[in-house]
Symmetry: C2
Subunit: 339 residues, 2 copies
């Protein structure tokens, strides 16, 4: 049984969609036990609205406080001891849950992850890994938002952790690791990339394929896309923004004439199918890698489907013993460096 604590109060659609997502996940998989963390009355009310939910595998864990989206994270984690994020993370810390899933305040999830759950020994920084859809399938972008101004050694660890995730959770053999750069040649880049490149090349147990230009990311040019979090956040958000704007322009374009409107009716099902492939929510949330337990951040705007996928994603993570593999990989690298 995989035990997953879910923040019932986090995100734009909490608690309704979160609860629906949790119920959906527990209904789809019999090996999941969900702990719904949040204001007891609100959570119970939400559950009451779900007919026939698997009662034996959904437990309500009361937490009276809520960390709001724009609250400064460090203070919030310190002061709101009975918030859904702090209570949920403590379940992971105490070993009562294997994972924590939240659509709430990213900063608080990041700070709480480091302060409450804690990093695996040897991990210097815990990056957010975001799964982004590509023409060929899906890539892992990390760090997509946790550590701006990260250092070269951090980026190398991101590559190691990301490779393990893509191989064992997503199932891509020998995932290709690329470092985000402004050109394909080794001599290109800013100071950070130039320092990181040779370290990546020398790192055992990753399949480093060199620089990746941003243009190649949507084409699926690498499976693990490594960068510091400022660049990663820009990539993630621009990806979403460009997609949204282009699709809205296409839709508007289809409504400009009677001819195109009739055509739109005919192409709608095919277009919908195509766009599904470019929908990140099918892959669930962004794991915060390198912690002693699994912490997953889903979009603030996540609806039931994405919440459910984020919860189910945790099962593979646990089954594949990702954290043990991360530990082994870091130790192997240390040993390689010593010899």
């Amino acid at each position: 049984m995989v035990r997953i604590a879910v923040d019932a109060m986090g995100g734009d659609n909490a608690p309704g969609e979160i609860i629906k997502g949790a119920v959906d996940a527990a209904s789809r998989r019999e090996d999941i036990h969900v702990y719904l963390v949040g204001r007891e009355d609100a959570v119970k009310q939400g559950l009451a609205a779900c007919p026939n939910y698997p009662k034996a595998r959904i437990t309500v864990v009361p937490a009276s406080e809520v960390i709001e989206t724009e609250e400064p994270p460090v203070n919030a984690i310190r002061r709101k001891k009975d918030s859904s994020i702090v209570v949920g993370m403590n379940l992971v810390k105490k070993g009562e849950a294997d994972a924590f899933v939240s659509a709430g305040n990213s900063g608080a999830i990041l700070v709480g992850g480091q302060m409450i759950v804690g990093r695996i020994k040897g991990v210097e920084r815990a990056p957010f890994g975001a799964l982004i859809p590509t023409e060929q399938g899906v890539s892992l972008l990390l760090d997509s938002g946790a550590n701006v101004d990260a250092r070269a050694s951090h980026l190398v660890q991101f590559a190691q952790m990301g490779s393990i995730y893509m191989e064992h959770v997503i199932g891509i053999e020998k995932p290709r690791v690329g470092i985000v750069n402004v050109g394909a040649e080794e001599e290109k880049g800013n100071a950070l990339v130039k320092e990181t490149f040779p370290l990546m090349k020398a790192c055992p147990d990753i399949n480093f394929t060199g620089s990746i230009e941003a243009r190649e990311i949507p084409h699926g040019g690498a499976d693990v896309i490594v960068c510091e979090a400022f660049t990663g956040n820009v990539i993630l958000k621009l990806y979403e923004g460009t997609g949204a704007v282009l699709l809205s322009m296409v839709k508007k374009g289809l409504m400009t004439s009677l001819r195109s409107k009739i055509g739109a009716l005919l192409v709608k099902p095919a277009l919908k199918e195509t766009m599904k492939k470019f929908d990140a929510s099918q892959y669930g949330g962004a794991p915060l890698l390198g912690l002693k337990g699994l912490v997953v951040k889903t979009h603030g705007s996540a609806k039931a489907k994405e919440v459910s996928n984020s919860i189910i994603q945790c099962v593979t993570f646990k089954e594949q013993k990702i954290n043990e593999k991360i530990k082994e990989s870091l130790e192997a690298k240390e040993q390689a460096a010593e010899t």
Copy 2:
């Protein structure tokens, strides 16, 4: 008369499309004189293929060498004295041309711009400004590729120069200046952004509107989008890559069933019209701002239309005395700092 030197040998489609573009520009505007710089026989042959070109306003300037796309730029500029880039830039330096347009090696254009044409007094770095299409029109992204690891003071100058460009060349009154950031709040950002933010706020004669998240760029969230060149290059290339992949997926999607194929025929003209709005080439190339003369880089893959637009763009730049305005703006800021 605006005199524009054009690199006939640079880019994937040189010399054919470059020459066609130059002829088109000179035919469209009677106040343009084009100097086509390149291998004499090749250029003359190309011109011979253009019927009725305005002979009096197109001059061939021989240059026997070509700087290739992947050549290391500093060496290339130093050694290939008779290359089309060096010869063309020397025309600008000597005051025989007002501007130089090239689709060639970006690094060589950047190095040549600084070493041959030279920076305006007071300009610390010359950024590439790329015009990117948005839902609302067009924004200027700078630095889109010249100075990785730029400093805060450089970014402030980019904002000043970009504002002048957008106001006087593109015609946007009081252009909104945004700094690329990972959140909208002032306390967010990496070390560079945190240092730059207050300097931007204190800068006279720019309309600083604060941070812009990458998600807002395609929505047209700012007219002048400021960042250092690593981030800028990632934005520019991801913008192009995401657009290309999404459109190719839409096209493929339209071909999946008989029903959608029939629909595709009906929606095609409307879609084409929509996509034109998202086509950067209509705006011409990326100016290298802050030099004593105008240097414009067009896409390596530019065809005649984009080359022609890049050339015509130079006329407004000259007429609006952009370089004089940049000088004045920098001096005004210096005086403001002194008092």
